[in-house]
Amino acid sequence: MLVIADALINVLARHSPSDTAVETGEQQTSYEQLLDLTLAIREQITRCPAGSAPVVVADDPGAGACATIAAAQTLGRAYVPLSANHPATRIRQILDAVEPAVIVQSDRTAARMADVLPARYPLLTISQQLGNLSWARSPEPAESCVSQIGSDIAYVMFTSGTTGRPKGVPVKAKSLTAYLDVATKRFGVRPGDRASHFFELTFDLSVHDIFVTLLGGGTLVVIPAEQRLLPGRFIREKEISHWFSVPSAADSLHRVGALRPGVFPHLRQTLFCGEPLRWPVAEAWQAAAPHSRIVNLYGPTEATIAISEYVLPRDGSRSNGLYGIVPIGQVFEGQRGGVFSEPDAGAQPNRGELWLSGSQVISGYLDPRDGPKAFAADPDGSTWYRTGDVVERDGDGLFHFVGRVDHQLKISGYRVEPAEIEDAIHRAFPDCRSVVVRCDRGKRLGLVAAIVRAGGDGPAASDIREACATSLPAYMIPAHVVELVSWPVNANGKIDRAAVRRQLEDEIAADVVAGQGAVS
């Protein structure tokens, strides 16, 4: 089995020094340059006295971020990614939660972050020319702070939480090692391969991009942010051989008719993860990339990148199709997945919430107040993570994604807790009650906030969106805001979220009252 602490840096040194490790636009960074940069960053980080406290990566994807992550790993320190595109409030919430030893940024992100990063943390800047490091703020911290994140943690990702602030998911080095052990064997890249770097660093699937590509000696090709929406030209021009993205990217290309047969002749492997993959999209992708095998991966951040897989049959059959969605398949060997259903619910025995256990599964959140019910102890001493995903297990033992037990939504693969958005709206406009849903049909697609106000003039849609933008990342800002006169309610007098969604999807006029109930 691979050992990550120290392994990555040794592996970097073993690859052919002149091979390109990371390609960002016209800039190519060789394995030799990446190793030198990693060693230089490591040396600077050791000047920060804060024990094993984490290293915050406040950078866009690229060679600098890869080197910073590799440096942190070799020092046995966790890394925590920050996006320069996220609002200041969210960035400060994350920094408060992790108390890093140092923040590493690049001169590409420095201007965007200048007014956001608190002065009390040491701040190291990597210049565009790479290799040129400078301390924007002294490596001696302004005040001593204690991080609760130990050297057993590889990285911490923050996802949407139901408590009105982001939820920290600490992933141990041993969990990352377990994942990489599977991934490098099953989905590995080799020297000469060109693998996509599609995911932002704050999305845990980026960990796969970086580690699997660099461990294998391939070239990590960073997609420019403005090409993520429709990545077809990027795949062709960059002659990508290994593609990994959310299914939305394929779905978008499919909708605009770009997945024509044979348009991706260089692709040999395609991985999808993060949201349901629809069969028609998978089939169109297979036709566009005839030499590629396609694997549908599944895994919450809490189970380290991905924990189950389904390899699509090359003969075009979809005998395993349920609900028009590609199965999420079987959990990796050594990991455990079980279907749990309430005994009195009268449900089918093969259908229920997916629980996960094993070396890839975390044992708890950074803040224990986040989701105390998300974890369950097994009599054998192991921990089960309750995913909240409803699955059905078919006769072949394959899991199929069916839906959620709660209100969590997915937007381009990002987890979105409606409660976090509703809380942001309520804080800005105390007279407004809101319900946020995802609409898949009708005129308003994507995240839609329905609001009902207690009295007086309500805020305009743009006011609501602006209020959300002060604390939430862009993917959590509702695309549409619709004012309802009152809420549809269920038999218990509670707001019926499904009915709200149906109203919005059916394009019933915003001021039509459907249902006479009061707000619960």
Binding site: Q227, P231, G232, R233, S248, V256, G257, L447, A479
Partner: protein, 87 residues
């Protein structure tokens, strides 16, 4: 595609965009993703609507995806398509 002048194309695109965004002033050169409430799905459905209304294929495999994000970029692209069809 019907013969249309560039200003006509621009106005038609502005109208299709206007039907889909909140009531905000439209800046022709700005990214619709950055300056309106259109999200990625909104942009995709906009492109499909433009393809249908102009009866054209926008080939996203050959043109710069960034140029599809602004009214100016879309106008340029559709004008070029009209010219090549007309000529």
């Amino acid at each position: 595609m019907n013969e249309r002048s560039e200003p006509e194309i621009r106005n038609a695109i502005r109208r299709i965009v206007g039907e889909r965004v909140d009531d905000v002033p439209l800046d022709d050169s700005a990214s619709l993703l950055a300056t309106t409430n259109l999200d990625s799905l909104g942009i995709i459905t906009l492109l499909v609507a433009i393809e249908e209304q102009f009866n054209v294929d926008i080939d996203v495999l050959t043109i710069d995806p960034e140029s599809l994000l602004s009214i100016s970029g879309l106008t340029r692209h559709l004008s070029a398509l009209a010219e090549s069809n007309g000529g």
